[in-house]
Amino acid sequence: MTTTEVARVEADPTEYSLGRRIIGLARRSGTTTFGVIVVVVFGVVALIAPLVIPYDPIAIFTDRLLQPPSAEHWFGTDGNGMDVFSRVLYAARYAFGVAVPAVTISVLIGVPLGLLTGYRGGMFDEVTVRLMDSLRVFPLIVLALAVVAATGQSLLNVILIIGILDSPVFVRLVRAEVLQLRSSTFVEAAVATGNPVRRILFVHLLLNSTKGAMAQVAVRAAWAVRIMATLAFFGVGIEAPTPEWGSMIRQGAEFMATGQWWVGIFPGVALILLVLGFNMLGDGLQDLFDPRRRAEKR
């Protein structure tokens, strides 16, 4: 037996105000709300960090090496005598500074490529898909490490590499949507009523396939932050005194076994929080945009 789509006709236009709807949205999805709050907070911190941090993130205090958290240094100092709190906050700039451009690159490469391969089909599609599938035999982290290590330590490199390596996700997503829509009846209907095919595909496909991509953007941002931190942890792509959570954790690793936990834990927690925020945002968005998942909630 089937429950038909006929029964699920869209509701009459609602008279809820925008404010009420946003509150309704927040109540509906705790994960999205949490995600948004975390990302926004970190984003704000990233923007205003230079103005609010108590110390210069790369200022060295040779007389205060490895000091535990105190009133003067909330997160303590690290092995070089730098203030951990300032560095943790400042590192948010690098997180966003890499994640935002990297994901943008992924989208700018992936979405058009997905549209193209889905629409054109044929050899071009075959080759692209096979190429992307072949790359799936390599673990992403290792690949990123190897490529960045080979191409040199620069932030631009890191951004580019992460952006390129993450684009297949969008290509696949958009391509799948395109393939689905191409054979759907409403496209047939549109063609039958005389719309030029190219315009239909462009407008309809762009609108419909980007819904799924939007939710992915948050998830990919989470990955970008993670990968960058991993690169920094291994000393690849980020140079020494730069405050970056990954390299801070690396330094902290040396002191983990001797009990100076603050050097590595604070940046780690910050990293986890931001990645979690992005992940929750992505999960919540996927929930909201998938009507089937929405229908199961009460």
């Binding site: 037996m1 994960t31 072949s134 790359l135 799936r136 035999v137 390599f138 673990p139 992403l140 982290i141 290792v142 690949l143 490490l145 190897a146 490529v147 290590a149 080979a150 191409t151 040199g152 989470a222 993670r226 931190a229 991993t230 942890f233 291994f234 000393g235 690849v236 990954g246 954790i249 902290g252 690793a253 983990m256 076994a257 001797t258 009990g259 936990w261 590595g264 834990i265 780690g268 990293l271 986890i272 990645v275 979690l276 992940n279 929750m280 999960d283 199961e296 909630k297 009460r298």
Partner: protein, 338 residues
């Protein structure tokens, strides 16, 4: 079509992929145009020394020739020499491979053992309390970097609680290793009936395996839940409900029908998980392929990097083929000619 013919066909299809992989990993290390010769002999070498090294390594040849040399050597088992320790890459990799596999096996095994039932239950009770908690922890699992998890575990269990030994490898330095049969200290210790070895190997294994299991369980739980929810929504589950079958029987039906996609998923996830294992090896000084490879990447040991990445890719390809085979064998719907 018989199983062996299916296997043969599948393996043949894989050959172009292997060539591509070899080419890709080859290009990987040539990407940045870093001069390997400079790396090897140091920044203060004279131009003649550099030229000599280049000629020796064949770096003065056109790229495709270099690749051909590399490829033909590789097929015969010569993956070059690591310029860091001067040993053949292949030997080093082969010795370390079982070590990595041991960690991967126990870690992913534990992760699946916990993750699959949790995922199934979350799907069954979906949107209730258990499910919500599970989804949160799954997201958390996706958000904790592997190395950080390892480090925190060392901090807590070694430094604060003193429960686990120092993370200095697979076996305590005070215990002499058993004769190498499987390269797994745990198993070799059992074989040789050396209980001090077994105990030490086991206590060294606990922390990295648990860390691996935690990281592996996040995707496993998420995907198991999604798969099981799909199965729960299927027509035949509804038929079973309409026929008055008990909850337990229906749960078994759901679990069985979820297994094939779950196994397939874990197979594809192993690619990423072996990367995770490599990171953990690095943290725990595990001495496996991962630690070797990551060190190679950091120090620019390009022959070793090539070998490592190649090994990872080959592992993945092998896993995919095995999974395909397993699916064909256990699925009544599968067609060997497909």
């Amino acid at each position: 079509m018989s199983v062996s013919r299916f296997l043969l066909r599948r393996l043949l299809l894989v050959v172009p992929l292997l060539v591509f992989i070899a080419f890709f990993t080859f290009m990987l290390t040539r990407l940045g145009g870093q001069d390997a010769a400079v790396l090897i002999s140091g920044p203060n070498s004279t131009a003649e020394e550099l030229d000599m090294i280049r000629a020796e390594l064949g770096l003065d040849q056109p790229l495709l020739t270099q690749f051909w040399i590399y490829f033909s050597n590789a097929v015969q088992g010569d993956l070059g020499i690591s310029w860091i320790n001067n040993r053949p890459v292949l030997t080093d990799l082969l010795v370390r491979l079982p070590v990595t596999l041991e960690l991967l096996f126990w870690g992913v095994g534990l992760g699946a053992l916990i993750g699959i039932p949790v995922g199934l239950r979350a799907a069954r009770d979906h949107n209730k309390r258990f499910d919500q908690i599970v989804r949160f922890f799954s997201l958390l699992g996706f958000s904790i970097p592997t190395y950080f998890l390892g480090l925190v575990m060392i901090l807590v269990f070694f430094f604060y609680l003193g429960w686990s030994p120092p993370a200095l490898g697979r076996i305590s330095l005070m215990v002499s290793p058993p004769p190498s049969v499987t390269y797994s200290y745990l198993i070799d210790g059992i074989i040789a009936a050396r209980w001090d070895v077994v105990q030490s190997a086991f206590s060294q294994l606990i922390l990295p395996v648990i860390a691996m299991a935690i990281v592996a369980s996040a995707p496993i739980i998420k995907q198991t839940r999604a798969i099981a929810m799909d199965v729960l929504a299927s027509e035949y589950v509804r038929t079973s409900e309409a026929a008055g079958l008990s909850r337990r029987v229906i749960q078994k039906i759901v679990a069985r029908n979820s297994m094939t996609p779950i196994i397939t998923f874990i197979g594809t996830e192993l690619t990423a998980l072996i990367g995770t294992a490599s990171v953990l090896e690095f943290i725990f000084a595990w001495g496996g392929m991962g630690q070797y490879g990551l060190q190679a990447i950091i120090h620019g040991d390009f022959a070793a990097v090539q070998g490592y990445v190649l090994a990872l890719a080959l592992f993945s390809v092998l896993v995919f083929v095995i999974i395909d085979l397993v699916v064909v064998l256990i699925e009544p719907r599968a067609d060997l000619t497909a």
